[in-house]
Symmetry: D4
Subunit: 253 residues, 8 copies
């Protein structure tokens, strides 16, 4: 149950179309639903933090993912799972024919996106094509949370003119998510070109001394461009949640 | 020169009180001023990125700091230096009697804060008293950049009731900066209590396996509370700049 | 042979129902039994350290695990193996139909729990559902060693009210084992709420900069709550053994 | 205010010698006292966690240490500061002539040890003479918290017969703290010889690949002797607090 | 060709039973033989360094291992391959029916051990059963190089009496190889008990913070027992070669 | 003695103006001169590798530096010392009044630059003013070795237009040395803009997770711009030597 | 389109055999061609940087590799893919019967090598046979880019006479690429023997503390032979590109 | 008391020149002497391990060093202290005028070298002049323990001919200690040239990625030359003790 749903219930009470008892029961619905062995859905989470529970597919079986998505769709109209690899996706395609499975972002959505608070535009900027899975994860989650998304891909700094050609586009957004692996120089260059909040996502793209994204992470944290903030390696979901929190503030109440 | 100053110049041109030639000269003032051997002030930076140059005192001599502050005060009305240790501060106290030196935050301000765009309130929340220097650095910089600041200190999670007692206060702010050293659990707890953008700052407080803040940094990046973003260890300036960029968006244009 | 068994043998000698020669033979049974190529059971271990040998399944074949469990059951009445993955468990299910195989904790028990010294209650508190395998390993081992166990799961600090709601329960135990992965903030919060001995177990849950549990380990070791002690990553067995040693002291002799 | 003090106040109320109003005032005394700029004493901490606040001298000036000790002595009868180096100790010797300064353990005590709950005996076992500062820190803190302490020093494993000669002594204690630097093998050998709760403290003794205690820490965490728990490098205070929590349980209520 | 073979050739020349031309041809045999694509056998290596080439199976296909062993057997009478895993061993069993394959040490020997210089006895001492593959690799290689070997296994320090019971045996050897994983305390204890050259081999046994043997390596290098030398993790071959070099010196010329 | 000096000697021999005996003596001059306790000058080094010995001041006393420079000046006309800090420089100023001491590059030159092979132009490009000491070290060494140098400083990527404004200048050089600390993005951007050999030098500029230049090093090694090569952190000398070796090839023989 | 192709087009325009409109169209051909989902070919790259796009096979499916090679062959006459493992190579063998697949270097070439600027000879020197895949990758890429290559393999420093026997050969080249794993001492020895630009490539050959090439990388960066530059672990492509840039300068224009 | 001293005492008993009671008293002298607060001398150590106690000066005050040396000289005729820095040496020069202080090796010897078992010759081979302090520490300790030492210094591999010129000298020794910092290639080259036991000592010489000797240590452990063993960084004492143990075996009993 998110805030608009809560407000709607309370409005019904004021309008006399819902008895206080029934309202209490609806609101009081056990906030945690156990949907499969070891998988618990926290339905009041959105009320507390503004962000609904997202199903993290990497540590769940297809059965657990399916059960979680169905519970979320039942209660709030729609659910989203991330980190669903190809093997699990194939199983889910059979189990949940109505689900929309997106191979690039490794996400599965069941139902419709519930109505969410208005949010300003978020630009998702990725350095290379290898960064696309994480970039799309961020984009799909941001859209699921109600923010319009501008995708700007393949603008790594080794061809800085390609990036410069897209700067005006990027400036049309209110928040920027920048993704890069290897030496991860993109946020530093971008940070000198835009005055928007900029969230950097290191990706595990690279080999040898890239050390699974640790160098990219370190490079982003030591960026010479002030005001960049960083999330964990490959954490498209975290970047999207942070960006949406900001983007909601950029819209007049 | 910041954007309001630029707009003012252009308004004078439209009003006929300033000739285009003079305006061009003012605008065209060499954007970089060399104020001392090896110290260059970038006066157009604020125009490009919304944030003026701050003097990073750790890598400068007192002479260089003084020269940079004087140049900033001359052109824009006021300048701020950070990471000015006690020894350098003592020298500057003699050189710049008009400067305001703050021992806790290790900052030195010369002149007045220039007018800046409106910004919403920022809460600076620190876990322990050892985190105060970085917390105050963030608070002073945020104020210098035009944002009102709410300080909430000594609310580490080992006494979680102290934190809970201050949650309503923290919720009155639009952006939250959370600082902690050692195991750095504060942002995780806070992230489950507020729905605001939350910027976490690891501090180098701790010993042994704390490894100069690396564990605090890692803990913040792997926080189970989604939507937290992180800056470099002890980077109060970076957190303040990021928070101000967000806080400016939370104010209707 | 554990201490009660030894005392029983000696009592029989005093009572005249067992000849000294037979007693000597029973006590003198070769303390190490080789049960399969390279697998040695140390039967006097419990006498020396109070803790019987537990079969570490990760480095053994199903044949070796089965032989070790049978030897332990033969001599002391019951044996327990840990870290038995699904593949090995399937083989053992066929080899040892009488064994109780527990998928979550990855343990296999053959025979009955031998009588053990009395022990006070141990609370096993886990932050997230991904921590369950290690939490259950700790719980099952503690129970096998004779301690009653209270399970409190899914009380991670990002929803601190859930933890607060269970604090009174946790306080009913005499020793606390707290498990968490990622930033592992649970023990710090818990350490400020209970005055019991608290053993923290970092788990390898997480990705990217979590580095297979190293950040969780570091966070627990640098906890701002004094008096927390820590075991190796994912070491549910070690935490249980340490907790039982303490819990036995909390029971009047 | 610790629990016995609280019980005494309440007994006075029941006896009619203290009015409820006065009792409330005494109990309600602001639990946090600010004793010097940035130094806060948490007087209710002992009530909550059973352990009084200890003054961590490493991050405080002599003035702050003195103020904190005086406040603790005023309210509870006695205070203890740790990590007071030689320079600070010299200043404190002048400021607090009544204080007892111990050079080896780097501790300063003002007033008398307040009455504390009974606790069983704790053995503090150190591998080498270089480990003495941390060993004594643990011993002094344990004694301050009310536990009798047995010191067993210079029993490193490279001369294992010296350790064996002291095992019976060590077994007379109910809890064991074992300290070692370099390869830190002492707890592993000890863990096979005693059946008591064993808390291992890595010290930063060593050079080269010892890496300031990280190898000692890792060795203790991977000990082949089960049931050993570990605290941060050089953390004598933490080991003492954990040991006292256990030792209090070993005494019949 | 090793030194005895060379001396024999030269003796034949002096005796007139071999023409200088034929001798030259034999000696001058191309020292490097290419036996399979990318696999080169260095036949003069033993002449230069006293140690023949050993076939490192980990980086070779079964075909390459077979070809190398056949070439070594052809020229010097016998060859040894190490790090031959089960899969490769199965292929070699079919290809080289005459080879002796040893599963524990993962070695394959073809032909007979060539005569080698006399060497004193080497003790191979291992802490746990998980260390056996590396221990046997060291033992088999040492025997192949001509040294008698005493095996002392399963004497880890967590049961120090088992080790003490074997010390006299170990002292009968002239050189000691000590293997241990996890916290690797065995060499430290052993180093205080014997006055022989002691070579320590860290093994990758362990999990979590054991970090694939890095902690064991660090513990051995920082041992408080002076005079211990160390080889790479799991490097049984290197330890054996070093021990044999020493053992040859312990035999009167 | 460098190659031109050798050729000159041999020409004198052919011309009959130098006897073979004298020539031999000159050439045969002991190639290593001991100039002070523990300081040896290798006079034939330039003949072998094309690069004369440079005096590494960091590990030498002022006396040793002075003696080495005097020996180099005596034999080849001039010598250069690097890593001479302010304290040592002050001593040398008194000892060697004729020396040219450069504070920024921390170099001291005695005598004149000996004639060296022709070399093409080298651009030394530095990201920030904090990188100047290393940049100047590279520039001064390159000039000492005979290459013309173009300095392009303060062109960090956070203000990418400043870098673009200098690209044509940089393209006028035949080899590029790029220096940067922190996230070290400069070489990646530059590598996409120029087609010259590009040598990257990480500097130890930065704090926190910059880890004394390790992140900068890692970022340069994982650069997405192919063909960049890297030297050790702060290694201006190494970069200059590598660049000069290339620049000499860019000049027709 | 590379520079010769561009010059040819422009020559046609001057000769009147190509209309300016057609020329513009040819030049203006969209520089980026999308050849398969997510795979973009940058046809102007060679014009900008002198190096054509090489297909990095590790992050692509066989279909993507095939499409990229066909597009490159169509436009410029020939394309090269690297890091094509055996499985992908088998698929490509069927899809692209005309492609030349090289198992050792893991490369696939389609079409003919386009004409490229003249380049001097490059020596590729490898320490051991395990380094061959990376050495051949470097050699094949260098040849594809137009440079003649001298291969010198199996000259590791543990048999330094083998290396010395090849030094004159190596000196015949103008640029040297040196590859080594494990302790990677080859470049240090070689750097003292040749005066050519020397690019060192660490390989991931080794086990235990070799840490996947990190020690080899560190050893090369700290080499005592000045003027060595280094690329990422196993980065044969990067070394070849850097070497070719240099080798082109060694040829008179 | 060492073995010859013990034998001498026993011989006196047999000869009747010493009463059993007096002999017992001499032998039974308390094996540990406390010579200053916290400094204990283990007089039976040589009897147990063949090596007398050496005074490790780094962790002792000048008073403690002096007391330890005097006690050792009193009982056995002579004592040696290592890691005595310049400041401590100056104090000792005044306290112990009879002591021989050696600045390079940082050692102090009081009295005469006691008679020790015969030992074969040890070569101490160092790569650079910066390695001399550790090399001399090894040499002085080896001599103190009774072994003749051959010093071969400044033979780093970047000038491999210098090393080759000394190989015959080195081969005259029976054991080799090889020291090097930075990339530490010396043992690998040497390991291919000599067939003696070879002990490698990494030194902390170097900067940047040398990481205080960790790369040198890693390089030595991964050496491609088999049979090299390694001690801790800068551990000249450990190398000398290990070498002497070997060298004593190379001498017929």
């Amino acid at each position: 149950m998110n805030r608009p749903q809560l407000v709607a219930v309370l409005a019904q009470v004021r309008a006399g179309t819902l008895s206080p008892e029934d309202a209490a029961r609806r609101i009081g619905d056990l906030p945690f639903a156990e949907v499969a062995a070891g998988t618990v859905i926290d339905h009041h989470r959105e009320l507390r933090t503004g962000i609904p529970e997202l199903v993290y597919g990497a540590s769940k079986t297809p059965d657990q993912i399916a059960a979680a998505l169905q519970e979320l769709a039942r209660v709030s109209g729609g659910g989203l799972a991330t980190r669903v690899d190809d093997t699990k996706a194939a199983v889910l395609r059979a189990q949940l024919p109505a689900a929309r499975i997106d191979a690039t972002s490794r996400t599965v959505m069941l139902g419709e996106r519930p109505a969410r608070p208005a949010a300003a535009k978020i630009a998702v900027v990725a350095a290379g094509t290898s960064d696309l899975p994480v970039a799309e994860e961020a984009a799909v989650v941001a859209e699921f949370l109600g923010a319009p998304v501008l995708r700007v891909y393949d603008v790594g700094v080794a061809g800085v003119h390609r990036l410069l050609a897209r700067v005006e586009d990027i400036r049309s957004a209110d928040v920027v998510i920048a993704l890069a692996g290897m030496e991860a120089a993109l946020p530093s260059v971008l940070g000198g070109l835009v005055d928007r909040p900029l969230i950097a996502v290191p990706t595990s793209v690279g080999y040898g001394v890239a050390i699974d994204g640790l160098i990219a992470l370190g490079a982003m944290l030591t960026s010479c461009a002030p005001g960049i903030t960083v999330v964990n390696i490959d954490n498209g979901v975290g970047a999207a949640v942070a960006a949406v929190r900001i983007a909601r503030m950029a819209v007049p109440a």
